[in-house]
Structures are given as C-alpha cells and as structure tokens.
Amino acid sequence: MDYNKRKKLNQASAFWIFRIMSLAVIAILFWILGFIIVNGFQAISWDFLTKMPEDGMTKGGIYPAIIGTLCLTAGSIIFAFPIGVLSGIYLNEYAGKGWIVRFIRMMTNNLGSIPSIVFGLFGMSLFVNTLGFGDSIIAGSLTLGLLALPVVIRTTEEALKQIDNSYRTGSLALGATKLQTIVKVVLPMAFPNIITGLILSVGRVSGETAPIMFTAVAYFLPMLPSSIFDQVMALPYHLYVISTSGTDIEASRTMAYGTAFVLIMIVLILNLIANALRRYFSNKVKTN
C-alpha cells in the first residue's frame, strides 16, 4: 500500500473510532435518562408527590423529601448567591494582580475541588457541633452554600470577563463612578450569563447528598419542618436510603424509581431553563 493510501485509511479509521466513541457517550446519557424516566414515570402520581411515606417507606409519597430539598436549596442560595456574586465582582473588577489576589483565586479554586464529603465533615464539626445548630435546615443550607460558593464566584467572574473593556472606560469617561459603572453598565450586560450559571448551580446543589447526610437530613420524618432548626428529609438522601438500606429494598423499588425520576427532572428542567434563557438573552442583548 502506498503512503497516500495509508494516510487516507489512517485518517478514516481514526475519525470513525472517534465518531463511534462520541456516539457511545451520548448513548450512555440517553440510556441512564431513559432507564430512569421510563421506570420512574410509572411511579409518578399526584399522591406520590403530595403524600407522606407509608409502610416503612414502601408506599405513599415523597412530599416531605421534596419540601426538605426545597428548603435546603433555598437556604443555600440565600447564603451563596450574594456573597458569591460580590466576590466575583471583586475578583474581576477591583482586584489587582498582587499576591493577595493570586492567593484568593487559588483558594477559590481549591474550595471548588474539595470533595463534597469533606464539606459534610466540616459542616458537621462547625455548624452542627461547635455552633450547636444540631442536624437542621440551617446547618445543611450553610454547608451546601459553601459548596455552591466557588461555582457562583467562577460563573460571575467568567460572565464579567466577557464584557468588553470599552464599555467600562466609556462609562467612566462620561463621569460615572466605578460603582455606577458596575451597577448600571457592567452588571446588566453580564446578567444573562450570571443568571444561567446560577440556575445550573441550583441544580448541582439540589442533588448533593454527602454534605447534608450529617448536617440536616433524617432517615424518616413524616412531618414538615416548622423552623430552620428542624431536621428534614431530602430527595437525594431519601433515594440513597430506600435503594440501599430501607426496611424492604425490593418493595420500595418503585418509590426509588420515582424519587430518581423527580431528581432527574429537577436537573433537566433547570438545564432547559438555563439554555432557554441563554438563547433569549443572546437574541436580546449583544454583549461585545
């Protein structure tokens, strides 16, 4: 075989391998999604979403777990969004290039890659034991908030980075202060990207199990929380419990499928919203 033929053959075979492997990855995603959606859809009913669990969590619904996850997610957002966005603004707009900023940036990166179970340990040690919150919504929310913080910071920073500098200098040249420039010019332009990033981080937080395992959740709690110092049930932990250590694992399989379905749906819907927003805004405002 001459050189040119071999060259062509090599290219064709390599590219086909890449195509097939990429297809395989897409297939895996659809396999997972399909498996859970098809099996889980049968478990979904109005009662399933609005009733308490019954019979050792083999019947009934997952209402308290849904409410618990909502509380925990909302709590973590209240904590992480303001601080994260402000921190992102600081890093991109105010911080210079000194060693302090390099240090802060490194720490933010580190915080983002710490395993979630370590957050769980830390949350248990600080919020549950040292500050005496006990297993509660507030302890769980704060722990989850710590987890979300680096994501929010990075999102904000990336969004701000994309705003062309001419807008800032233009605003400053017209006599606006730095604060006015940021609030009136930079933030509105970066808003679409910030908000889509935030929505995606909500998806991540709502599915986390390890950080809340020892800070907030109860194995089984057939009532709704009445204050932020109460324990709650949560969807991801509920799925873990009924699929590995429930009273009757086989009997609660349908419940497990249903719970996994709800979890997947949360992530799916948040992703769709984020993508829709991205498209909507990119038609409306042209950054750059």
């Binding site: 290219q11 402000l86 600081y90 769980g120 340990l121 604060l179 709502s206 199990t209 991801p236 992530v267």
Partner: protein
Amino acid sequence: MRKKMFRGKKYFIEALWEGLLKISGSVTSIIIILIVLFLFSEGMGIFKKKVVEDGYVIAVNKNNPVKDLSPEQIKNIFDVKIVSWKELGVNINEDEISLLRLDDIPNYFPEDQIAEDMSNLPQIISQILKEHPGMIAFIPEDFAKKGFSEKVLDLGNINLKEFFGGKEWFPTAQPAPQFGVIPIVMGTLWVSLGAILIALPFGIAVSIYSAELASKKVHKILKPVIELLAGIPSVVYGFFGLIVIVPLIQKVFNLDVGETGLAGSIVLAIMALPTIITIAEDALRSTPRAMKEASLALGANKWQTILKVTIPYSISGITAGVVLGIGRAIGETMAVLMVTGNAAVIPHTLLEPVRTIPATIAAELGEAPKGGAHYEALFVLGCILFIITLIINLVVEYISSKNKNKVA
C-alpha cells in the same frame, strides 16, 4: 455646598461598597482556613487516644516480661490467632496464652463469692492472674485501680505508623480498634485508576471529535449532553449503577456479588467524563489556527495535523483535564458507596468488593460516637482527602502555568 455634600456621600457609598466586596472576596480563603482548622483539630485527637478501647486496660501477671503490644497483636491474641507468648518474643514459664474477659471470670472463680456491688473484683482478677502466668486480661479501667496487684500494660497512644501502615480497618474491634488505612487508600486508588483507564480513551476521543470534527449542528447536541452528564446527581448515578451495572457485572464475570471495584470504576468513569471532555476540548480549541494551517499547507492531512500538531500543542491542557478527572473520581462519595460493596480489605483485583476513603466516611460517621477514636479517625480520612485534592490542584496549576509560558 450641596454639591460637595453629594460628593462626600457618593464617596462614602463607594468606599462602603468596596469594603463589602473585599470582605466577600476573602470569604473563600477564610472558609478554607476554617476547614483546615476544624478537620485537623478533630482528626489529630486520635493520636492522643489509647490503643485499647476507651475505658479499658490490658493486664497480665506481675512476672510477665511483656512490655509492648501493637493493636494488631492485641487483636490477634483475642481472636486466638496468636496462641503462644513465644510468637510475641516473650519467654515465660506458661507459654500458652489464655484470655480473660469479664464474662470469663465465673469460669475461674465461684460466682456466688463475687460481691453484690462487685467491689472485690480487682482482688478477684488479681488472684486469677496470679494463678495463670500466661493469662492476658481485658478489663474495665476501674477494676485495675484500687486493690489490683498485677501488671497493667502501658500500651501508649495510637501512633502515626500504626495508622498509616496498618493493614486492617476495623474501628469497632474489641479490645483494640484497628485503624489501618492501607486497605481504604488502596481501594480508593484501585477504583480511581480503573475509572481513569476507562474514561481516558472516551474523554479524549469525544473532545477531539467535538473540537475538530463535529459540525456545528452535532456540537449543539454534544455540548448540552456533556453538561447534563455533569449535572446528574451522584446518588442517581449510584442508583443506576446499583440496578443496572452491578447485576450486569455479576452476570458477565459470573461472580457471587456484583458490588465490586469494577462497578465503582465504571460509574466513576461516566462521572469523570464531563470534566475531562470540557477541559481537554478547551485546550484543543486553543491551538492557534496558523499552526494547524501551516501543517495542512505542508501536505499533512487532518488526522496527521491533529496527531502531530494539535495534540502535542494542547497536551498540558489535556493532562490538566485528566488530573482533575482523577480528583473528581477520588473524592466522589455516594455513587461509589452504593456500588462497590464496601469491604475494607486490601483488594487484589477489581472484581472484589472494595471500599474508598469517601465511602468509609459516609458509611461510618453516623455510627461513630462524637469525640471517640473512630470519629476522629474518620476526620483524619477527611484530612487525607483534603490533602490529595490540594496536591491535585497544585499539579493542575503547575501544568497550566507551564502552558502559559509556552504561549508567551
């Protein structure tokens, strides 16, 4: 005058705002410092704990020359795996080791002579020990104080060498809990290594395909797919692995249990893919167009250009992606906890149940009493995880800084 006041107010707000930003900016650093502080201060407590279970002591006959026993030796003695003093290098006239726990006392001493309030137990235990020179006793601390005449072994505290060199993890063992992290660390390494070996070819193939070959349309499908893969909660991956992959492995390899290291590796590989793909793709895309075009102009075809120009140029970015993927695999908790079977033994193949560091923490923290040796041991495991991620981050930072120099 009014204008001046307005100005003053404006500057005040400006300064306030800047202060607020600075505080928010430093929050992450403060959190990291707090994490280090809490993790290490809780974890280090274990090295101040006694080798023997809290509140108990090990006692022997007064004339027994034995001085020091490791936790492993104590466990083997009480599991009747070590039966003679010679095995421990101790010479004594009664070579066979006999055991004495509180439950065994009636075998040596008439039960009706033990006082109601057990106040004479120290004397009784002393007497039994005196009669049996080869005996070793595991008794509550209180019985070894007043009136006790035999030798209480001072075994010291749990030390670093036993913790990091121990080959057995059995924190609830009596009389000496076993805190050897080797099986857990090995389990973590095996599972993560397996995951990366599976994920690497797919990750690189998909990133090359996505960056170099895919049309805009295909790219529009591929990107959300990867994003979604990254967004699925780990507990859902675990559930999927438990119901689909575990039985599959059991069937294919004809095993008794499907919950193996391999199941963990496969699930982790799927979970690490998005990290590897996104970062590697970014790196591939950053190759200057001029370089690729020069290669094409010289007569190389697309594949040769990718192989000889694009990949070598972006290799540091690809490496960074892979290293971060490893980091993700090492730290993943729930999915691994659900599919690996969690046996704390040193694995020999990936087809055995294994247990990883995060899974150990998640599985045992709920049962470990606060402030006890077990609780603190789990915090040490947390410290190990923290240090591993720190090292991985430094490696990634080093790789990308090298990359920057190259571009400049």
